[in-house]
């Protein structure tokens, strides 16, 4: 399969506006149709290294388009559609790309039933993967972007598909979602090239997405074994701290972030229990990205 970047941007725009393009991420795929040109352009840049096909099977049929009812006359808005129906509120036109990313997250965790989908980032080095769950605002994505810039492999920024035997986590290698101050912070580190445009005034503040490195996308079908769970907490100016987290507490925290936990019933419970029994669980606090990355490296080295 060719990579998205092999198709000229203009042709890609026409494809997305016409019959649609099927983009593959890990073992999943979505067929994107949209008349919104700036969305097609962002997808073309952010999914540059992902395989694309034009026909065949796609897991999720998604469309981002203006509403057809009266709403279209009130401000320029867009809706996210799966299989032709929209269950989300429309968002302003400028937020097309974040809308697509959030919608795709929903598609994955609503459909998938053969692994436990955790709201967490996953990075890997030397065959050892770290699971980084965290509520918004904890600095998870910033930390992940920093690690990935320093050669770690990105498996996922938002959704971690944990195998039900808890022995491996699959990669999705979709763009990393950065918010507010961390956008400029990471841009200073990596340069602007890998970044989408910054969308202001979303429900999460300003949002920009960062393209995953080509190596991560090429290796996406290689799962990784989790060795540690790290709950990060960034507080400006705080001194670096590292504490162990008990298995029970880690289980409870992870359960809250497991999207399909109740649908998997016993299997989900056991996968999560196996994970916290097998992995070291840690809490880190830090006041700068460098300190955070150093704590993560230490945990990784000791695991």
């Amino acid at each position: 399969m060719v990579e998205v970047g092999a198709i000229p941007a203009r042709d890609f725009r026409a494809l997305v506006a016409g019959a649609g393009a099927i983009i593959h991420f890990g073992r999943f795929s979505f067929r994107l149709s949209s008349p919104v040109e700036h969305l097609a352009d962002e997808v073309h840049r952010m999914y540059r290294h992902h395989p694309v096909s034009l026909e065949g099977f796609a897991d999720f049929h998604v469309e981002v388009r203006p509403p057809r009812n009266l709403r279209r006359w009130f401000g320029r808005q867009l809706e996210f559609h799966v299989d032709g129906s929209s269950s989300f509120f429309p968002l302003p036109h400028a937020q097309a790309f974040p809308l697509l990313e959030w919608g795709l997250n929903w598609c994955v965790h609503d459909a998938v039933k053969d692994c436990l989908i955790l709201h967490a980032a996953v990075v890997e080095k030397d065959g050892k993967a770290l699971l980084i769950p965290a509520p918004p605002g904890s600095g998870k994505s910033t930390l992940v972007a920093g690690l990935v810039h320093h050669g770690w492999r990105l498996l996922s920024d938002e959704l971690a598909p944990l195998a039900l035997d808890a022995l491996s986590i699959e990669g999705l290698a979709r763009p990393i979602s950065l918010k507010n101050d961390s956008i400029d912070l990471v841009k200073r580190l990596t340069g602007e090239d890998a970044f989408s445009g910054t969308v202001r005034d979303t429900v999460k503040g300003s949002v920009a997405l960062m393209r995953p490195p080509r190596e991560s996308v090429l290796a996406v079908r290689r799962p990784a074994a989790p060795v540690a769970v790290i709950f990060p907490k960034f507080t400006r100016g705080a001194r670096p701290v590292h504490r162990g987290v008990g298995q029970g507490a880690a289980f409870a925290l992870l359960m809250e972030s497991a999207f399909n936990f109740s649908a998997l019933r016993r299997q989900g419970f056991e996968a999560l229990a196996d994970l916290v029994e097998r992995c070291g669980c840690h809490e880190i606090g830090y006041g700068s990205l460098d300190e955070g990355m150093r704590l993560v490296e230490d945990i990784h080295a000791a695991a």
Partner: protein, 362 residues
């Protein structure tokens, strides 16, 4: 986007895939793409998946569509476990009342162990009790955490005076919904039936607190629900295939004779004949020739019949998108208008729709 003829052939694929998975043969990735979405949107993905698995064909499905089929099987299994638990909770709430409680539709098919119920996905649980037992049943359910989800006075009155069920009850902790019926048609509906006869004939099942309708009454209820309720037919094809499954369970002339007599006795011939008409035309269910002739003769004639037929065929055929074109939306409107016309006399309907249109929901 598949070509029109690919879509056309896949329309037949869904029904034949559910009824006879072997007939699917080898499909192209594009055909699977359409079939999986049609099955999901028609609420038939579970049945398709369970059928393929039972024939040992699931493993030979290409990995992309196979994942969706396996996820559907996982959903089916979760649903079965949750249903068992939910029914045990309802039993606990009602077992002290000494009131016969009849399960309807999806939950009943599961409990009765009907062959097609294996992969059938459904939403809420429906029960039916005698009208005079309704206050006690409602009170007992409320004691165990089910609450009325419609608080508005008008909605309460709408259900309690005009409908065949209480306002839907929701469990305060589990969030599950329970519909408590005292009949299978609103008392205001044009079509009249005899819920007392349905309840008298309901069957007990070994070791089960709940009862289910007699086999021929299950057919009549399903047909009535499909063709004479509010007209929204999102799960229409699934319901039609339920009827197919029930009718295929009939063993011979004696069963058909009983079904026709029963339909006449409880006033549900019209829904039965309508169901048989579409089972023959859209599904190919084996129906004896003389019964089919009867059904054809009773189908509404003239312009009205033609429009109704167009609308129903539109709504009962699978689609791979919910983004409905103008014809489909028009047909849905027609069926909703017809459904309401069947449901209430004109003066009530005008009052009800006027109220819904002009009074803001609190």
């Amino acid at each position: 986007m598949p070509l029109p003829d690919a879509r056309g052939s896949a329309r037949g694929l869904l029904v034949s895939g559910v009824l006879d998975p072997v007939s699917l043969g080898t499909l192209s990735p594009g055909q699977w793409d359409v079939l999986i979405r049609q099955a999901r949107l028609s609420r038939l993905l579970g049945r398709l998946a369970v059928g393929l698995e039972a024939c040992g064909l699931l493993a030979s499905v290409p990995i992309g569509p196979r994942q969706h089929l396996e996820w559907a099987i996982a959903r089916v299994n979760t649903q079965a476990e949750e249903l068992g638990w939910e029914l045990s909770c309802i039993e606990e709430a009602l077992s002290g009342l000494d009131v016969p409680v009849i399960l309807l539709k999806g939950a009943a098919y599961h409990v009765a162990g009907l062959a097609f119920a294996g992969g059938r996905l459904f939403g809420d649980i429906d029960i039916m009790v005698a009208p005079e037992a309704l206050p006690r049943v409602e009170a007992a359910l409320m004691l165990k955490g089910w609450v009325n989800s419609h608080h508005d006075d008008y909605d309460q009155r709408y259900y309690r005076e005009w409908m065949h069920e209480l306002p839907p009850m929701q469990h305060i902790r589990r969030g599950t919904t329970l519909d408590v019926h005292h009949s299978i048609l609103p008392p205001t509906a044009r079509l009249k039936t005899r819920p007392d006869l349905l309840m008298d004939a309901a069957m007990t099942l070994d070791g089960c607190f709940f009862r289910v309708l007699a086999p021929e009454d299950r057919v009549l209820h399903s047909a009535t629900h499909l063709f004479f309720s509010e007209g929204e037919m999102a799960g229409g094809l699934r319901d039609l295939l339920d009827l197919d499954g029930m009718i295929r369970g009939f063993s011979g002339d004696e069963d058909w004779r009983r079904l026709l007599l029963r339909a006449a006795e409880i006033g549900l011939e019209r829904p039965l004949f309508m169901a048989l008409h579409y089972l023959d035309r859209l599904v190919g269910t084996p129906v004896p020739g003389d019964v089919l002739d009867l059904a054809r003769r009773r189908y509404p004639v003239g312009f009205g019949g033609a429009v109704l037929d167009w609308g129903l065929r539109m709504s009962l055929s699978p689609s791979d998108t919910l983004d409905r074109g103008v014809p489909r939306r028009l047909s849905e409107w027609l069926l909703i208008i017809r459904g309401h016309w069947q449901k209430m006399p004109p003066h009530l309907l005008v009052m009800h729709l006027g109220r819904k249109a002009f009074v803001r929901q609190s």
